[in-house]
């Protein structure tokens, strides 16, 4: 038998040798399993009566979603507030998309110089690592809590996200198409807007729309957390101020419907692009 074969401790033949990554992954899984078990034992359960808590939770959920109604606000107002939230998300996305397009030209390695590409990449990685809410709060220092800080903060994070998505799409463009235009005497700007953008248009649209959906969700949260207004603020008032389960349910359902409409719209756009 070949001497290259290795044996397990029980004498059977090994068919594979785990590499470093697999070993790390195995220990991670074991570690998180142990922490989960230990975590349950360390929680504070005083005053918790499961026999009462579970039916009450179900009852609350039932009130929220089975008998939703708007008690402290009107339908007109609620829809208006949804419009406000959509505008916040839209503004942040569109501003972010324009800035991202130009930054992505500088980031894509086939269109840019390595030092510029690496600088932008490093910068956006840091921006992306910090959650959107934190950016909003950071900009609230300058702009004060409200819509302005929310839009700037969301835009900041959108840029970090879209630059990565756009530049990766740009890098997929066939080098030959760029060469063909360069050989005909076209300038750098011509190549960007006559080859790169038309060739990646459907990706650009679908990424931007995906970010818009995310920004709508974030804008709901920002309404409450940063006082940006919109349906998020109504939701915060209904739950934290009036403690009105039925209204919370109604608002949640409205947001859900809007999200589904956005999703359908995104699919339609992607097909036609």
């Amino acid at each position: 038998m070949s001497s290259t074969v290795e044996y397990k401790s029980n004498g059977t033949i090994k068919v594979s040798k785990p590499n470093r990554g697999q070993t790390v992954l195995r220990w991670l899984l074991i570690g998180s399993f142990i922490f989960t078990i230990v975590g349950f034992f360390l929680m504070d359960y005083t005053g918790l009566d499961l026999t009462r808590a579970i039916p009450m939770t179900i009852d609350n959920l039932g009130q929220m979603f089975l008998s939703p109604s708007l008690n402290n606000t009107t339908w007109t107002n609620a829809l208006w507030q949804v419009g406000v939230t959509l505008s916040l998300g839209f503004l942040a996305t569109i501003l972010g998309a324009v800035v991202s397009l130009f930054l992505a030209f500088g980031t894509a390695v086939n269109l840019s110089k390595p030092w510029l590409s690496n600088t932008i990449k490093g910068f956006i990685t840091i921006v992306r690592a910090v959650p959107t809410v934190l950016w909003v709060l950071i900009f609230a220092i300058a702009a004060g809590l409200g819509a302005v800080a929310a839009v700037i903060g969301m835009m900041f994070h959108s840029i970090a996200y879209l630059v990565k998505a756009y530049s990766e799409a740009f890098e997929e463009v066939d080098e030959g198409k760029i060469e063909a235009l360069r050989a005909s005497g076209a300038s750098y700007g011509h190549i960007l807007f006559q080859v790169i953008v038309p060739q990646t248009k459907s990706y650009l649209i679908s990424w931007t729309f995906l970010r818009f959906e995310i920004n709508f969700g974030v804008a709901v949260a920002m309404g409450a957390a940063a006082g940006a207004g919109g349906i998020g603020y109504e939701l915060f008032m209904a739950s934290g101020f009036y403690y009105d389960m039925q209204e919370v349910g109604a608002i949640t359902l409205i947001i859900l419907v809007v999200a589904i409409i956005l999703e359908l719209l995104a699919n339609r756009l992607k097909v036609s692009a």
Partner: protein, 307 residues
Amino acid sequence: MAVDKKVKEVNKVEERTDFNKKATDNVLISFDEDIEVTGQEVETLSKKEVKQMPVIMSIDNLYKEYSKGKNVLKDISFDIKKGELLSIIGPSGAGKSTLLRSINRMIEPTSGTITFNDKDITNVKGKALRQMRTNIGMIFQHYNLVDRLSVFENVLHGTLGYKNSLQGIFSMYTESEKEEALDIITELGIEDHIYKRCDELSGGQKQRVGIARALIQKPKIILCDEPIASLDPSSSRVIMEHLRKICNEKGITVIVNLHQVDVAKNYSDRIVGLNTGEVVFNGHPSEINKEVIQNIYGTDFDDLIME
């Protein structure tokens, strides 16, 4: 249908006996994928005629090394005549593509000079380089069209070299440019497809769009990098005959990289043979024989697959 075809063939035969040149013209005029092209007679130039033509570009002692000490092109020197169809043949890796791209400076040569229209273009930069490139069209093996744009838009891309950034970015083409593009498209027989996206076309049609894009530049020279390497024999013939026609009728110099020796022999006025970066043959197609092939490809003539 079948009868029609037969009548056509009879007509063709008659014309051919009538006058050699006329027959060639007839064959070259109507191109459509459905029509069988029977252009055996290609109007090429004799050795003497080529010799008398004025020089449009001369390449002197051209070297290119990618990594130190490894020359892809070694001491390349030859003249390119105005209005000739020049084929460059040689095995893979001989430096054909590098040579072609050195001519329009898509690749920077390490040393040597290229003179185009009595001007040294080896070191031109920026605007002058762009302007020089507008005078040299290029077509590619993989067509290199923007698939998601229409045939019309792709052809108009050839005019970008004459435009400033703003005009180009916002696709501001003049009516006369559009009309010119239409003329060229019609000439190449793809007028039925002008508003189609380029990814809907067949290979032969795509290559014709490529030729149209090069022609609208009003070039003095057209460089063709393996224009027929991805095409079937009948499309290849259509493309080669279009190139021949451009050369004969418009007096544009055409330089073609080719893999097929017999195609080169059939269509060119002159052939340059490259082997490992050196010119090993430079002469009239009629001078190609077994020894020359042996020299260029390093194998016997009989071992080559001839299409």
